[in-house]
């Protein structure tokens, strides 16, 4: 006859064993993920397919793009130019910096997308017919937004100024517009799309994986056993989330790797900083997916919730349409989405080489969003079957 129970009780380790239990959960999730061939294929296929699909950019008509104007002199002519700029509707003068250093900082942090620089003695040069240069610097990381606006600029300015009686010879352009596309001089759309894809693909896969994790256990009946064991909701959550942080890194590396080798996307900034901020972003999305998982009654509902959340992420984060060109209410919604902040971070680091100081607002926002999502997830987790 066989024996069901160990004749001698196995020795138990002292203490509560928070990490030990989290580790047990994590290990289990890893094994399950490894056995799930479909999910495994999805991790690799989604980035590949999306990269190919989004190789083509979507054309848009941006409005009210934030612009800084550095005026070395103030007079009627410069005021006319300012008014003409705003009249194009593409630009909205939001900052009036005083130094070039300030201009650089505003562009690097993404506070403005354009900077117009009117040099000293501009008016006198125009009157003398010297054709002085007006410099327009554009943040071209999003070539769709900057390209359209720049293209329309020359014509519009000329028409506007032709009515100005102070300007002689109104038939010809009285000054030169010298545009300078920063960060992405060639205006290559993939440069903007590839970092954007890192964010959207991570959002999608991270959401879906964790959204299914709790409901799957409930549907398969394993949740009842799990709840009857001495393991806490936080331990369960961490054990389920951590494996997918690694999955997220695999995906991000895959996209950036292909971006660099196939599309020649540069990585100007610090990869370590990108990895650190990506961890925050991945954890935030995993926590949101986990929250859906605790609310949904079954896996189908969890899936639907993820899709409902994914849609505004795509539309309002600045991935498809320039964020600054969206109506104010949409910008508020966008600010509440982790993807919005991550897109700024990943674009700034990869294309502009932004520093942590430049990104402190978006980094902090990501951290807060992650904490909120984790708190909701843990409190929503039902410890009983009631």
């Amino acid at each position: 006859m066989t024996h069901l129970i160990p004749t001698q009780a196995p020795r138990r380790l002292p203490g509560d064993g928070f990490w030990r239990k989290t580790w047990a959960m994590l290990l289990k999730e890893f094994i399950q993920l490894r056995r799930d061939r479909v999910s495994f294929a999805m991790i690799i296929m989604i980035p590949l397919v999306q990269l190919m699909l989004f190789g083509y950019a979507i054309n848009t008509m941006p409005r009210d793009l934030p612009t800084a104007v550095l005026m070395q002199e103030r007079n009627d002519l410069t005021r006319s130019i300012l008014a003409a700029l705003e009249n194009t509707k593409f630009f909205k003068v939001t900052r009036l910096p005083r130094t070039e250093a300030e201009v650089d900082q505003l562009l690097a942090s993404g506070t403005v997308l354009f900077a117009v620089e009117i040099p000293a003695n501009f008016e006198r040069s125009v009157r003398r017919g010297d054709k002085p240069a007006m410099l327009i610097e554009a943040d071209a990381t999003d070539p769709v937004a900057s390209g359209t606006a720049l293209g329309a600029l020359g014509q519009v300015l000329q028409t506007a100024l032709s009515h100005d009686r102070d300007v002689p010879d109104s038939a010809a352009m009285p000054f030169e517009i010298r545009t300078h596309a920063r960060y992405n001089p060639a205006g290559v759309t993939q440069l903007n799309i590839v970092p954007g894809l890192v964010g959207t693909i991570l959002t999608m896969t991270m959401l879906i994986f964790t959204a299914l994790s709790v409901t799957r256990e409930i549907e398969r009946g394993t949740m009842e056993s799990l709840l009857a064991m001495p393991i806490s909701p936080v331990e369960i959550m961490l054990g389920k989330i951590v494996p997918y942080i690694l999955v997220g890194f695999v995906q991000a590396s895959l996209i950036i790797g292909i971006g660099v080798s196939l599309f020649g996307v540069p990585v100007v900034g610090n990869l370590g900083m990108l990895a650190a901020l990506s961890t925050l972003f991945i954890a935030a999305n995993l926590s949101i997916g986990y929250t859906f998982s605790t609310i949904a009654q079954n896996q189908l509902q969890a899936m639907q919730m993820s899709m409902m959340f994914f849609l505004p992420n795509i539309l309002l984060s600045g991935f498809m349409f320039p964020f600054a060109g969206m109506p104010v209410w949409a910008q508020y919604v966008g600010e509440a989405l982790p993807l919005t902040h991550y897109l700024r971070i990943v674009r700034s680091i990869m294309l502009k080489g932004a520093s942590l100081g430049d990104l402190r607002y978006d980094g902090f926002a990501l951290f807060v969003l992650m904490l909120i999502a984790m708190t909701i997830a843990v409190t929503r987790f039902r410890r009983t079957l009631d």
Partner: protein, 320 residues
């Protein structure tokens, strides 16, 4: 206070001690005013028709459901506030197979060993595999095991951390008779060492192997005690009537069933069990049939099954 103190002080003899438990789902009570005591080392059988609240009661005992009313202790710990401590000492085998179907036998057991903080999970899992007779199948995926082996694995899983109390929800459903017998021998050996077992079942032979039983129907615990006590307290008078080769029994059953004084008629092979709670009324009802030469009447002790069928009928009448 640590786990050992609570288990030794408060519940030296009484392992489960709950009073007036009520559980409602959507306003409908599925367990009503249930009180029960289970002594250490007892095998306590939990019987009753499907949907009567057995699983719900077991879940309340191990902290998976919070009772709407009533209170009590399990292993000396409050079932409302100290569920974390209860969970460390209780092995719960769910009615439905609830191990991970996509993990191997070994991986499932190691997972459980880690959660319970067992010092060497790999060794504990290996030992359990050997005890369970699962050697050679340790790398097999649990979902691909046959029904009997799954059952055995589930049992091995909930006994692996050496619990003080086993809660087994229909553990032998769909298991062959030899394996069932082995399982019960094992349970008795364990109980002799002080392990307490609460087991729900539909099998009468299993009920008769329990030290104590409780019968629950439509959320009410109707009777509990030793098998002899439960039979005696039903106050049933029972006759066994048989015919040659069972001829005409079903007609006879139909005739007797409606008669005043006859509370229960149940066929058993080539005979009928006819019972009534009022002995005199039963005698009067069957008197005309006792004259018939083709019928062989014998007075008998009611079986546990007679008592349960009677209880179920009575509960259904009250319920409707």
């Amino acid at each position: 206070m640590n786990a050992q103190d609570g288990a030794q002080n408060g519940a030296q003899d009484i392992v489960i001690d709950v009073h007036h438990l009520t559980k409602k789902f959507d306003g409908k009570a599925v367990v009503r005013d249930l009180s029960m005591q289970v002594k250490r080392g007892t095998i306590y059988g939990f019987l009753g028709p499907n949907g009567s609240g057995k699983t719900t009661t077991i879940r309340m005992l191990c902290g998976l459901l919070t009772p709407d009313e009533g209170e009590g202790t399990c292993l000396g710990y409050d079932i409302r506030t100290e569920t974390d401590k209860i969970k460390r000492q209780v092995g719960y085998m769910t009615q439905r197979f609830s191990l991970y179907q996509d993990l191997s036998v070994r991986e499932n057991l190691e997972f459980i060993a880690r959660i319970y903080g067992i010092a060497n999970p790999a060794a504990a899992a290996r030992a359990a595999i050997e005890r369970l007779g699962l050697s050679g199948r340790e790398e097999q995926i649990a979902g691909e095991l046959s029904g009997g082996w799954k059952q055995r694995l589930a049992l091995g899983a909930c006994t692996l951390p050496s619990p003080q109390l086993l809660l087994l929800d229909e553990p032998t459903a769909g298991v062959d008779p030899k394996a069932r017998r082995e399982f019960w021998n094992e349970i008795h050996a364990l109980a002799a060492d002080g392990l307490t077992v609460l087991v729900s079942t539909h099998y009468m032979d299993e009920a008769e192997r329990c030290h104590e039983i409780a019968y629950i129907a439509y959320g009410d615990l109707l009777v509990h005690g030793s098998v002899e006590h439960v039979i005696a307290s039903a106050h049933l008078s029972t006759y066994v009537v048989s015919t040659a080769e069972g001829a005409g029994l079903s007609r006879l059953s139909d005739e007797l069933a409606g008669k005043p004084g006859v509370d229960m008629v149940a066929p058993f092979g080539t005979s009928l069990h006819v019972s009534g709670r009022d002995a005199a009324a039963l005698e009067a009802a069957i008197a005309p049939y006792r004259q018939r030469k083709d019928l062989d009447w014998k007075r008998s002790e009611p079986s546990l099954e007679d008592v349960f069928i009677d209880l179920m009928g009575k509960a259904r009448d009250n319920f409707q």
